[in-house]
Every structure is written in structure tokens, then in C-alpha cells.
């Protein structure tokens, strides 16, 4: 069972709002760097850059911060995550906006922040996510949220983007009731 | 005077061309009579032990012309008692033990020591004396003394005799004592640091190879020398097709040469080494398929007279080490018959051919008693159950050492009783 909670248009509207909020909160675009967490967070970062450029006429530096090597579940996961893109522009003294698709336990963000710290000392780190589905396991909260989406732990939230999946949508999949086979 | 009758078994005695159902009567340690089962109407009297061999095969006690009992000097690997028990458990009633002990069996005191230790053991032990003093390849041993002490042949086995002149003298000199010279045919310089057969397997494993030529050149040399001197040559553990062909041609010319092959060279190839299995490391090394085929043909046509185990016990400290540092050789007494019987099951050999190579073949080559079940022969007899299979569990073997490539393998053909001089010395539980 799956349910579309955001469609193409809704995603665009949410991103536009987040772009405005970023500019507003930072009183412009000065000293800003956008870092996406691959794979989809990176594409969202590129989209945000475009929206900000449309609004402010400034093209911000965008990078990718791969949290894989900093994860705390490498010794637990059965499947080994493959390494992704790591491209970090100078961050010393910058205000870094990290971008991810879904905020869930907060562990990926923790790992990404640790990774980022190995590259320099940003002035501040802010977090932008398309969807916040709750169930945090760490004291982490997003500064910019495309959509708050209360979910149960049994549900899955998937973001599909045209760049990677050929379609723009956010879907919630409902886990089958206990006892039934998948 | 002990009396025994072995009833109802299928008797296979190649020396008499016998293969049928016979009752064998034993008296005073010798075969007293042998009667066809269906024609045998005699009553078994009191005081006669009866061995029921129904469904079993009765053959002359097996003779192994090549074992290392390691005593004196290397008792941590094997001693005469454990080696003899392993032999009896494999259906052997006689073994020839090689001279590379510590000290080397190059004088009568060592020979007599071995024979003393062998008293009361379940097999007859025939010592082989060294060809050269200390097996150093320099000076001949006192062969007259060795002969009178009980040696049946001379050999520097384990150490090839590199000096052709010395080999010539050995063949000449030993001939007066009717002691064959057993040659460990390998050119040490062609062997070099090789630790397995030369070929693609060695190349893949990155191990140095030993070419067939390392054996062939010495077999050719020693045959020439036997031809020159009229001496008696026995080629130990033949491993190459080239050697088989050289020996075949030599026999055709009437050269006094005999030969042996091991159960492992008859059944395994160098691929057994894959995985760096030191229990497949031996000298000469396991060769390739064509060599195995040639050896089998050699047994079949009699070019190779005997199967010999080259039973070579080694302790784990010599085998659980780097492959190129590991000792050469495997134990074989307890698996030999089953492995050779595997060739019968495969249709490669007949049962008669297999038994011949393991009994009358060696008896003839070294003029030993036994190897046949004719009236008056020593009642050295082995009884096998050819329908029974067993799994080789090293821990359960009688040998002190456990270095066998057949560990965990299921083999067919089990020695159920071994009889030495009319006395049952081994019974399978």
C-alpha cells in the first residue's frame, strides 16, 4: 500500500518556501554554502540553489557531503552502503545549509555534521529537509521543513525526484499488518 | 599346535590363479589344505578355531615393500609397535621398513634392534639396510653384515644416490648377497627447491615445481647401470609415465628390475594440492592425470610389480606449517587396500590384479615368504569385506601420525581379520 503525500507541484511549492525562509533567516545570501547529502539531498540542494538564484540573483556554492564513512550503523547493517559523492567547498567561517530529503532518526545528520567538521569549522550549520517524519533518536531538529509528516515507525517514507527516479513525489508506504507475508 | 579353518570365503590367490570359494585349513602356522567349499565334506574337529568368511574375501596377507616405521630415532612420528598395528589393521602381514632412521640402519646393531622390537608384533618386519654409510652417499655399507643380520634389500630411500659411480658399485656389490638395491630415483638438482609437480597447478599456486624429468633421468641411469652390472634394481614409488615406459622396455630386454607404485600416485593428481594441502605433499610429488593413467596401466600389465604405501608418518609440527617447509609424505598402511580396491570398483583393475600387486608381487620381488596361500605357505592371510564402507577418521587410526589425504573420505573395502602364522592378530570391531 502506498499513498502519495506530496506531488510534483507540492514539492516545488515547499522548496520555494524553504528557499524564501533561508534567505529571510540569513538576511540575504552572504556567506552561505549549501551542502546536500547524497543522493537525493544533493539534488534538492541544487534545486534550492536555483530557487535562491531566481529570488536573489546570487548563485551559491553547492557541495555534497557523504555521511557513509561516519555512520554509526556500519557494524549492524547487513548491506554495506556504497560510497557516494564527497565534494566540499571551503566551509571555514561559512554558514552551511545542509540539505536532506527525509529527516527521521537524525543519525544521518549527526554523521554528516561529523564529516563536515573534518573539513573545517563552519560559522553555523543549518538543516533543511523536504520531509520531517518524526521519531528522532538524537537531539536534532530541522531549521527549514518542506512538510511535517507524522508517521508511524512501521511506515516508510520515500522521496522520488525526477533526477534520480524520473518522477517527483513523496510517498508513504504502509507496512503490512503483522503476521501477513510480504 | 594351533589349528584354524577359514570357511566359506571367496579366496583370491593370484600366485595360484585361484579365485573361488574355498575352505582353508591351517595347521602349525602354515596352510595345511585348501578345499573347494562345495566339495568339502570334512568335519571340523574339536580344538579347531573356525573363522566364518561367508560373504568375505580371503587373500594372502598383504606385503608392503616400503614403509617408514621411524624407530629408532623418530618415535614421536611412529614406532615399530604402532606402525605394525596400523599395518595389521590394513590387512598387511609383512612390511619392509626403510633405513632412514636415526641412527641410520647401516649396521647390524640397528638391524637387530629393529628386529628385536618387531618380535611379537602383528606383522613380519623386514628391515631394509642403507646403501651408504649414514646415507651420506659416500661409502658403501657392510652389506654382508646387514644381510646376515636380517636385511632383505638395501636403499638410501629419502636421499637419492647422486653419484652414478657409487650407484654402479652398489648394484655390483649387493648382487652377491641377493639384496636388491631400491632406488629413490630423483635428481636432487632437478628437484631443486620444488615442492610439488611442475605444471599449471604449481604455477597457479606459486609453488616451485618438480619436473617428471627429475625422476626419469635417474630411472634411466639406474636401469643402464643394472644392465651394465647385472645387479638387481627395484625402483621405489614410480610416479611418472616416463619411468613406467623405461621400466617396461628394460623388463623386455631382461634387465633385472622391479618397481612399485603407491596408492596415492595411482589415484591422486597434483590437483589434490590445491588449497595448499600439506597432506598432499610428498616426494615424488603427485603428478598429472596422464601419469596416473600410465601407472595404472603399469600395474595392470605387470610392469609395476608392487603397490607400496611409502607409509611416511609425520607429526603436526612437520605438516601444519608453510607448504614449502612441510615434510614430504603421508601415512598409508590403513587406507592402502581400500584405495586400491577403489580402482577395482572403478573397473581399472581386477581384484586379482590388485591383490597380486599387494601380495605375491612384493613377495617375488624381494623373495619373501608369504604372498600366496598354497599348501605349506605361511598362513599369513587377510580377510576383507568388500561391501563395507568406512570413513577415514584420522583420530581413530592406529598410526601415531594423522597425515592422510583421505581424512573424512568414505572408502570401500575393510580388513575385518588379519591372520599371521595361523593366529588371528587383528579383528575389526
Amino acid at each position: 500500500m502506498k499513498k502519495i503525500v506530496l506531488d510534483d507541484k507540492a514539492i516545488e511549492r515547499a522548496l520555494a518556501r524553504v528557499a524564501h525562509e533561508i534567505i529571510e533567516r540569513n538576511k540575504g545570501t552572504e556567506n552561505l554554502v549549501i551542502l546536500g547529502i547524497p543522493t537525493r539531498g544533493y539534488h534538492l540542494a541544487l534545486r534550492l540553489r536555483k530557487k535562491i538564484e531566481e529570488i536573489e540573483g546570487v548563485c551559491l556554492p553547492v557541495g555534497a557531503v557523504d555521511a557513509t564513512l561516519y555512520r554509526d550503523d556500519l557494524g549492524i547493517k547487513k548491506d554495506q552502503p556504497s560510497l557516494k559523492r564527497m565534494e566540499i567547498p571551503p566551509v571555514d567561517g561559512k554558514k552551511v545549509v545542509m540539505v536532506d530529503d527525509v529527516l527521521f532518526t537524525g543519525r544521518t545528520i549527526r554523521a554528516a555534521m561529523n564529516a563536515l567538521m573534518d573539513f573545517g569549522r563552519p560559522l553555523a550549520i543549518q538543516l533543511a529537509v523536504l520531509v520531517d517524519r518524526g521519531h528522532r533518536e538524537l537531539p536534532i531538529k530541522a531549521d527549514y521543513i518542506g512538510k511535517n509528516l507524522p508517521t508511524s515507525r512501521k511506515e516508510g517514507v520515500k522521496v522520488h525526484l525526477s533526477e534520480t527516479d524520473g518522477v517527483n513525489e513523496v510517498v508513504v508506504t504502509v507496512a503490512p499488518a503483522e503476521g501477513t507475508k510480504q | 599346535m594351533n589349528r584354524l579353518v577359514i570357511k566359506g570365503g571367496r579366496v583370491v590367490d593370484p600366485a595360484q590363479n585361484l579365485d573361488g570359494f574355498y575352505n582353508i585349513y591351517v595347521m602349525g602356522g602354515r596352510v595345511a589344505s585348501i578345499k573347494k567349499v562345495e566339495a568339502d565334506t570334512s568335519e571340523v574337529g574339536t580344538g579347531v578355531d573356525v573363522v566364518d568368511a561367508t560373504g568375505l574375501v580371503v587373500v594372502p596377507g598383504l606385503i608392503d615393500p616400503h614403509v617408514h616405521l621411524r624407530e629408532p630415532g623418530y618415535e614421536y612420528k611412529e614406532d615399530i609397535s604402532t606402525g605394525a598395528k596400523a599395518a595389521a589393521a590394513g590387512g598387511f602381514t609383512a612390511v619392509m621398513c626403510m633405513a632412514n632412521t636415526k641412527p641410520v640402519n647401516d649396521n647390524e646393531s640397528v638391524t637387530r634392534y629393529i628386529l628385536k622390537k618387531a618380535e611379537g608384533q602383528p606383522v613380519r618386519v623386514y628391515p631394509v639396510g642403507a646403501v651408504t654409510q649414514g646415507q651420506k652417499g659416500e661409502r658403501l655399507t657392510e652389506m654382508s653384515e646387514l644381510k646376515s643380520a636380517g636385511c632383505v634389500a638395501v636403499s638410501d630411500d629419502g636421499v637419492p644416490i647422486s653419484d652414478p659411480g657409487l650407484m654402479r658399485r652398489a648394484l655390483e656389490y649387493s648382487s652377491q648377497f641377493q639384496m636388491p638395491v631400491i632406488t629413490h630415483a630423483e635428481d636432487a638438482r632437478l628437484v631443486g627447491h620444488g615442492s610439488m609437480n611442475e605444471g599449471v597447478v604449481a604455477t597457479r599456486l606459486g609453488l616451485k615445481g618438480i619436473p617428471n624429468a627429475a625422476e626419469d633421468v635417474i630411472v634411466a641411469r639406474d636401469i643402464s647401470l643394472a644392465e651394465l652390472t647385472g645387479g638387481r634394481l627395484h625402483v621405489a614409488h614410480v610416479s611418472t609415465r616416463g619411468s613406467v615406459e623405461l621400466i617396461r622396455r628394460a623388463k623386455e630386454r631382461g634387465v633385472k628390475v622391479t618397481a612399485e607404485a603407491t596408492p596415492h600416485h595411482l589415484t591422486l593428481t597434483d590437483e589434490a594440492v590445491i588449497g595448499y594441502r600439506t597432506e598432499a605433499k610428498m616426494n615424488p610429488p603427485l603428478r598429472d592425470k596422464e601419469d596416473v593413467e600410465a601407472l595404472r596401466a603399469g600395474i595392470k600389465d605387470g610392469t609395476i610389480d608392487c603397490v607400496a604405501t611409502d607409509h611416511a608418518p609425520h607429526a603436526s609440527i612437520e605438516k601444519d606449517v608453510e607448504f614449502d617447509k612441510a615434510a614430504n609424505g603421508i601415512i598409508g598402511l590403513e587406507t592402502a587396500f581400500s584405495v586400491v580396491y577403489g580402482l577395482v570398483e572403478e573397473g581399472v583393475l581386477t581384484l586379482t590384479e590388485a591383490v597380486r600387486a599387494m601380495s605375491c608381487g612384493p613377495a617375488k620381488a624381494f623373495k619373501l615368504a608369504g604372498g600366496k596361500l598354497s599348501v605349506g605357505s605361511p598362513a599369513d592371510i587377510a580377510i576383507f569385506d568388500l561391501n563395507r564402507s568406512w570413513t577415514v577418521e584420522p583420530a581413530k587410526l592406529k598410526s601415531k601420525s594423522k597425515n592422510t589425504p583421505w581424512a573424512g573420505k568414505e572408502l570401500k573395502g575393510v580388513a575385518v581379520k588379519t591372520i599371521l602364522g595361523g593366529v588371528v592378530v587383528y579383528t575389526k570391531e
Binding site: 564513512l69 556500519l74 547487513k78 573534518d118 | 599449471v200 599456486l205 606459486g206 614449502d324
Partner: protein, 317 residues
């Protein structure tokens, strides 16, 4: 995607997919070594033992740096004698090491097959850092990574491996590796140094270096051991160098954009002339850099997985 194996013992038993995984992972790891803070916490708390029975500063250092950049603790043990000399079986050695609870043992040994035997005795991962004339998988992987970086692909490339093939673990690992990736490998050397049946490994074989070099994309020169001279594998260094050494003249037969690899250290003026070694085709230093990345990838892929799974795998050995 993950490497479903406990040990890395050789290239022969790796699939093309596994090779590609290791190479792409290694390419990602190159970035870590270019950072100011050259360290990631991925293998924090893991212990790597570098067990070197043969002196090799280069390879050992490369493994050590790789382990440390992954935050693993690396311990070096140099052993100068074989287990036989010590009077200890390899099983004893292995059990002793295992009692220290390492996660990985990196072994270099002069006897072929020793890492293989050790791997059978221990539950932790074993990485072959070169065994006798058998294999040197991390060297072949770094060679493949270096060539792939320069040429974009390995498929369809012509690779010539020149020198003492018989005694070379680097040659064997590279023959397996490059042929699996679709390259065409030719080995060349004096007939005394071409081991029996080498062509069955999937390469072409010749004793004519000029033929081997013709139109080739990559030349790999093997180090010649001087002691082979006394064993009559070749008569003199002078003759070896004249016939098999790589100089500017012989190099002309290769493609214009040929690249040259050497597992190092070089005998200048013997297997390779100084002009060629220092020339623009030589990637000898890239090989060293890539060595660290490849070894980081090996550690990541072998040690960065679920422990439980690893134990299950170990039980099977």
C-alpha cells in the same frame, strides 16, 4: 553491494563484479587522503595486525596508513623466521594471534599459500599482502586502479608484463585481474622465467619482448632479483638488461600514449633504464598513492560490515 567474503587472499577467486566494487570504492577513498584531516572514523575500534614475515617497508607502510586513515588500530609484527624454525605450527601462530582479538590480519610471507592456511585457522579477516610467488592482490588492484584512471577503462587494453614471471606474485595477480576486466595480457621473459602452463591463466606468452611491446597500452616491468643469476635463470645482468630491459628504443614499439608500471623498487639500468623510469610515461608514484586508497577500500569492504554475519561466514571456513 558488499564483498561477501571473510578474506582477500588472491585475485584468482574474485569475480569481475567484486573487482569493480573494490576499484570504485578505492576511487572514492582517494579523496580522504587529499583532505587536511586525513582520517575517517569508519573503522574505529577495529584492530588490524600487519604480520610481515618478509621485510617490505613500502607495502607494510601502505597498509598501516590505510588502516589508520580509517581509524583502525594498526599493529605491526615483523617476524624473521618461519614457524618451522620457531618450532611452532602455523595453527599455533594463528591461535595466538587470534587470542588478541584482531579484526584483520594482513600477512606477507615468503612461502606461497601461508595467508590461505592462516585464514583457515582464524575467524577474523585475512588479507594477503604477498605470498611467495603466488599472489599480491592489493598490488594488482592498485595497478588496475592506476590504469583505469589513465585510460578510463580496462576493457580492450593491451597489457604487457615483462620479466621474471616465474617468481612473480605481482604477475600472477595482474594476469587474473586484467584478464577478468577484459584486457588482453601478454607476458614476456626469458624461457627460464616463464613457468609451466602460464598460458592457461588466460594470457599470451612470448620470449620476444619486441613482440610483446608492439602496440601495447600498458607495460608492467617486473623487478629482477639479482640472485637469479647464480641460479642460471639468466647468464648476466648485462645480457638480461640488453634483451629484456626497457629502454627508449624498445618503448617505441608501444602505443604513443603507453603508460609504464613497476611494482618497485626499481633496479635502474637493469629492467628499466633511468630515462624511461623518470619519463612521462611512468606512473610509479601514482601507484604508491593509489596503493593507500585500494587498501582503505579493502579494509572498508572486509571490516565495515555486520559482525554477526562475519562470524557466520567464519564458521564456514
Amino acid at each position: 553491494m558488499r564483498l561477501k567474503r571473510k578474506d582477500l587472499l588472491g585475485i584468482e577467486d574474485l569475480t569481475r563484479d567484486e573487482l569493480e566494487l573494490i576499484l570504485s570504492t578505492a576511487a572514492s577513498f582517494k579523496e580522504v587522503s587529499e583532505r587536511e584531516i586525513k582520517k575517517v572514523p569508519t573503522l574505529r575500534g577495529k584492530t588490524v595486525i600487519n604480520l610481515f614475515y618478509e621485510p617490505s617497508t613500502r607495502t607494510r607502510t601502505s597498509f598501516e596508513i590505510a588502516a589508520k586513515r580509517m581509524s583502525a588500530d594498526a599493529v605491526n609484527i615483523s617476524v624473521s623466521t618461519s614457524s618451522v624454525v620457531k618450532g611452532e605450527t602455523l595453527r599455533d601462530t594463528a591461535r595466538n594471534l587470534e587470542a588478541m582479538r584482531p579484526d584483520c590480519i594482513v600477512v606477507r610471507h615468503a612461502s606461497s599459500g601461508t595467508p590461505h592456511m592462516l585464514a583457515g585457522f582464524v575467524g577474523c579477516s585475512v588479507v594477503n599482502a604477498g605470498d611467495g610467488a603466488h599472489e599480491h592482490p592489493s598490488q594488482a588492484l592498485l595497478d588496475m586502479l592506476t590504469v583505469k584512471e589513465k585510460k578510463g577503462t580496462l576493457a580492450g587494453l593491451k597489457i604487457a608484463i615483462v620479466g621474471d614471471i616465474a617468481h612473480s606474485r605481482v604477475a600472477r595477480s595482474n594476469i587474473y585481474g586484467f584478464t577478468k576486466m577484459g584486457s588482453e595480457v601478454t607476458v614476456a621473459g626469458p624461457p627460464t622465467m616463464l613457468p609451466a602452463g602460464i598460458e592457461k591463466l588466460g594470457c599470451k606468452v612470448t620470449s620476444n619482448v619486441e613482440d610483446a611491446l608492439k602496440g601495447t597500452d600498458v607495460i608492467m616491468m617486473l623487478r629482477i632479483q639479482m640472485e637469479r643469476q647464480s641460479e642460471s635463470f639468466f647468464p648476466t645482468v648485462r645480457e638480461y638488461s640488453r634483451v629484456y630491459g626497457l629502454d627508449e628504443t624498445k618503448l617505441k614499439r608501444a602505443k604513443d600514449d603507453v603508460i609504464i608500471l613497476h611494482p618497485g623498487p626499481i633496479n635502474r639500468g637493469v629492467e628499466i633504464s633511468s630515462e624511461v623510469a623518470d619519463g612521462p610515461y611512468s606512473l610509479i608514484l601514482d601507484q604508491v598513492t593509489n596503493g593507500v586508497a585500494v587498501r582503505m577500500a579493502i579494509f572498508y569492504l572486509l571490516l565495515g560490515t555486520a559482525k554477526e554475519e562475519q562470524q557466520i561466514q567464519a564458521g564456514k571456513v
